[in-house]
């Protein structure tokens, strides 16, 4: 069966050049990058080259890159590393860029995080875990295109300063961390990180972004965005699964998540996944060099798909279409259908796309992202995401345009609610 893959936001194939770069590091160059001897040094060299390659993709310095197991670990490390849930921790807005010991400690209930309602679960569930330990979390709402307003971030900031006139003195929470994703996985919406970064910097608050969906798709410069922490996942940019990176701005006081050896300057113990790291480095290099060209080509195909579907499917609309988006993503609502059934019908015809977020059993649950942009539940369930990639061809789009409208027509014919709605008009 002819199979067309339009689910690159879920994962990407490993680029052949990436695989070639990795292969020597499984058997031939198998050294432990922490070893002193020559095989170890060769592995170390490969890791450090990869660190430079990843740093170059996001405008960072190599020593600011820590390799992790993927986006989820990077997000968790950033959040739990800044906001210590257990007892106490440094006042980040006092300690920032200070290499000396922390001067003051605050209890967890005096800490505060600002995030948004449409973050990835790796961020949302980490914040919810901290809430259980007494940390205050503000989940900023977004507009109908999935954009957060920088002013809302500014208003949500809490200084932690007590009112000198109040007695007994009450210590309000202070914002320790702002974590807002760069591009959304379901909509492609790009957040105004430059403005948020400026606000965070002025308020002297750590700023983390989950850039898993933007890295390799749109230009990233950590200094322009003024982020302190940034998460990257390998398998979203044509490197293998199980490898990722966290950018940690120099001077950031970050608690380690895992305890073990002294690998990666103590930030992330565990023997380095050399082959994976080499793959991520190579993929980052390819992405940096081909980013502009890829974006141009992919966005043309994406627009063709989006326009074609809007024309061919009555009542279809784009979710989040008015905001700046990653060039490869479009999310459409087809009223009167169950996205779950459409996904299966399309898969049986050979087209892979996505709806909502999968849960542990694999069943589809209503998307919190689509709910956050104000879609009613039935429209959230009637939405489908198409995400294109470097290997998507014009023929792939033609195939999608031939099967999707027909599948939707068949679903609608068997949908009692849709038939009722049509009869009503």
């Amino acid at each position: 069966m002819n199979r067309v893959y339009l689910d690159y936001n879920a994962t990407t194939p490993v680029e052949p050049d990436v695989l070639d770069a990795m292969l020597p590091y499984f058997s031939g160059e198998f050294g432990n990058a922490a070893s002193i001897h020559t095989p170890g040094q060769r592995a170390r060299g490969a890791v450090e080259t990869a660190r430079e390659q990843v740093a170059a993709l996001i405008g960072a310095r190599p020593q600011e890159i820590v390799f992790t197991s993927g986006g989820t670990e990077s997000d968790n490390h950033a959040i739990f590393g800044i906001v210590n849930p257990l007892v106490s921790g440094p006042f980040p807005n006092l300690d920032k860029n200070d290499d000396g010991p922390p001067q003051r400690h605050v209890l967890s209930q005096h800490k505060h995080i600002i995030t948004t309602a449409l973050e990835h679960e790796a961020v949302l569930n980490a914040c919810q875990a901290l809430e259980k330990d007494g940390v205050a979390v503000t989940y900023l709402s977004v507009d109908r295109d999935g954009r957060v307003a920088p002013d809302a971030v500014r208003r949500a900031i809490q200084t932690g300063r007590s009112d000198p006139n109040s007695f007994p003195s009450h210590v309000p929470p202070a914002t320790s961390l702002i974590t807002i994703m760069h591009a959304n996985n379901e909509l492609g919406t790009i957040q105004p990180l430059e403005e948020i970064g400026r606000i965070a910097n002025e308020a002297d608050i750590y700023f983390h972004t989950d850039a898993v969906q933007s890295a390799g798709k749109i230009p990233i410069d950590v200094n322009e965005l003024q982020v302190d922490l940034l998460s990257v996942s390998g398998h979203k940019l044509y490197a293998p699964k199980g490898i990722g990176a966290l950018y940690i701005r120099g001077g950031t006081r970050l608690r380690q998540l895992l305890y073990g050896g002294h690998h990666q300057r103590g930030f992330r113990p565990g023997t380095e996944n050399v082959a994976g790291i080499v793959g991520l480095g190579k993929a980052a290099e390819i992405a940096r060099l081909s980013l502009a060209e890829d974006a141009q080509r992919v966005s043309t195909l994406r627009d063709k798909l989006q326009q074609g579907l809007l024309q061919r499917v009555p009542q279809s609309r784009v979710n989040g279409g008015a905001a700046p988006r990653t060039p490869n993503t479009t999310n459409l609502v087809f009223p009167g259908i169950e996205g779950e059934a459409l996904l299966i019908a399309l898969d049986l015809k050979g087209l892979a796309c996505s709806t909502g977020a999968a849960c542990s059993s694999g069943a589809v649950e209503p998307s919190h992202v689509l709910t956050a942009i104000g879609l009613p539940p039935e429209e959230a369930r009637a939405s489908l995401r198409f995400s294109l990639g470097r290997h998507t061809t014009s023929a792939d789009i033609d195939f999608a345009l031939s099967v999707v409208p027909a599948a939707i027509a068949q679903l609608r014919e068997l949908s009692p609610t849709y038939q009722k709605a049509v009869a009503h008009e």
Partner: protein, 396 residues
């Protein structure tokens, strides 16, 4: 295998004035593709293997019906394994699909399941009835949204692991439901609610097989679930403790069960004890009455209005007549005159001969030839003529 079209004309004609509608011909869609409702158990897995062996193109669908992490207080006794809706079962279904190499999907019907099955189940218990969830799950979930989804994704029919048979009566044009060949496994008692449309789109490939033959088939096909034990409990109450479930669910709904205490009375109305809520009782129950009596006493009836449980001796528990509502005539049209049939009033009941007297629309009276023990409101009465399921309804 056996043809679905069996010429058949004798049985029903007997005393049912049946005038059968003719169904429009089925539109054949994507000929060959058939969906299998896979629970992860051996029966539905064997169905998939069997259909594949017959050269059908199979797609597996496993319903996610109930989040087992809900009501965590019900899981205190450690991990519950091999229950429908549990993750283990979903993985088992996936493993079978992978072993046989056909596409498989988990589909989410949690909302429908709660609204149509779980909530009414709890409400019925609280109203002093003893509901069966499986019948409604078939009529309102499996052969409703799941069947629709099967057709939406291009399958012409939905096959399940039910032990029952479907055939088309060429004379009447009607789809008929029959008992399974393996009488000990027969599940027709739970399927009487299906409409002609639902039956015409359903397939029960195990209807002609015994459980042993199904196990053997599963072993021959080397299915990873071939030796899996059967699940006996209601899927959303894996502990089997309904009372605990009803309490926990009511709590979660924000309507905790408080002070539902009431009186236990004998037939003459004398108070002889107290109870902690009518949902603890079912007709014919002896245990758990909370007091010792000379002669064994049984629950005769439950009066939710007065919050009373009436008890008495075994002979009073036997009754000759009862009424059935919400009747669905499957294999024939609604009769206008009394007819004779065998009536089965609970899953493990030996069908008893009775005269069926039509009353109002959807309501019939059953007059049994001999008194039947513990006729329980909320359970189904299913009417048989030989192996043919004439119809069924709810005891009231």
């Amino acid at each position: 295998m056996h043809s679905r079209r069996i010429s058949y004309n004798k049985i029903v004609a007997m005393n049912v004035a049946c005038q059968f509608d003719t169904l429009p011909e089925r539109a054949e869609t994507q000929r060959g593709l058939i969906a299998v409702a896979m629970s992860g158990g051996v029966d539905s897995s064997a169905v998939a293997a069997l259909l594949q062996q017959q050269g059908r193109s199979v797609v597996g669908l496993t319903m996610q019906l109930w989040n087992q992490r809900r009501l965590p207080e019900l899981q205190a006794d450690g991990p519950v394994q091999h229950r429908c809706c549990s993750l283990d079962d979903v993985y088992d279904a996936k493993a079978v699909a992978q072993h046989l190499n056909f596409p498989h999907y988990v589909v989410n019907f949690e909302k429908q399941f709660e609204a149509r099955i779980v909530r009414p189940f709890v409400d019925q218990y609280l109203a002093g009835r003893t509901p069966i969830a499986c019948t409604n799950c078939n009529t309102e979930v499996k052969f409703e949204p799941l069947l629709r989804m099967a057709r939406q994704i291009g399958a012409e029919r939905l096959a399940t692991g039910h032990y029952a048979r479907i055939r088309k009566n060429d004379d009447t044009g009607r789809w008929e439901l029959l008992r399974a060949r393996d009488e000990t496994k027969d599940q027709s008692y739970f399927l009487w609610g299906l409409s002609q449309e639902q039956l015409s789109r359903s397939d029960f490939p195990l209807g002609e097989l015994t459980k042993e033959e199904v196990r053997a088939l599963a072993r021959r096909a080397k299915l990873p679930v071939a030796e899996k034990p059967e699940s006996m409990e209601l899927c959303f109450v894996p502990t089997g403790n309904y009372v605990q479930f009803i309490q926990a669910y009511s709590q979660e709904r924000g309507t905790p069960l408080q002070n539902r205490e009431g009186e236990i009375v004998n037939q003459t109305g004398d108070v002889i004890g107290r109870h902690h809520g009518v949902h603890n009782f079912t007709i014919g129950q002896r245990k758990g009455l909370g007091f010792a009596a000379g002669k064994p006493l049984y629950v005769l009836s439950i009066d939710p209005e007065k919050n009373r449980v009436v008890v008495g001796e075994d002979d009073v528990l036997r009754k000759t007549a009862c009424e059935v509502e919400g009747v669905n005539w499957i294999s024939c049209n609604t009769p206008s005159a009394p007819l004779r049939a065998f009536a089965k009033i609970r899953h493990k009941h030996e069908p008893a001969p009775a005269t069926i007297e039509p009353l109002d629309a959807g309501i019939v009276r059953l007059n049994f030839d001999t008194p039947q023990r513990a006729i329980t409101p909320g359970q189904a009465a299913v009417l048989y003529h030989g192996n043919l399921v004439l119809g069924g309804g709810w005891l009231r």
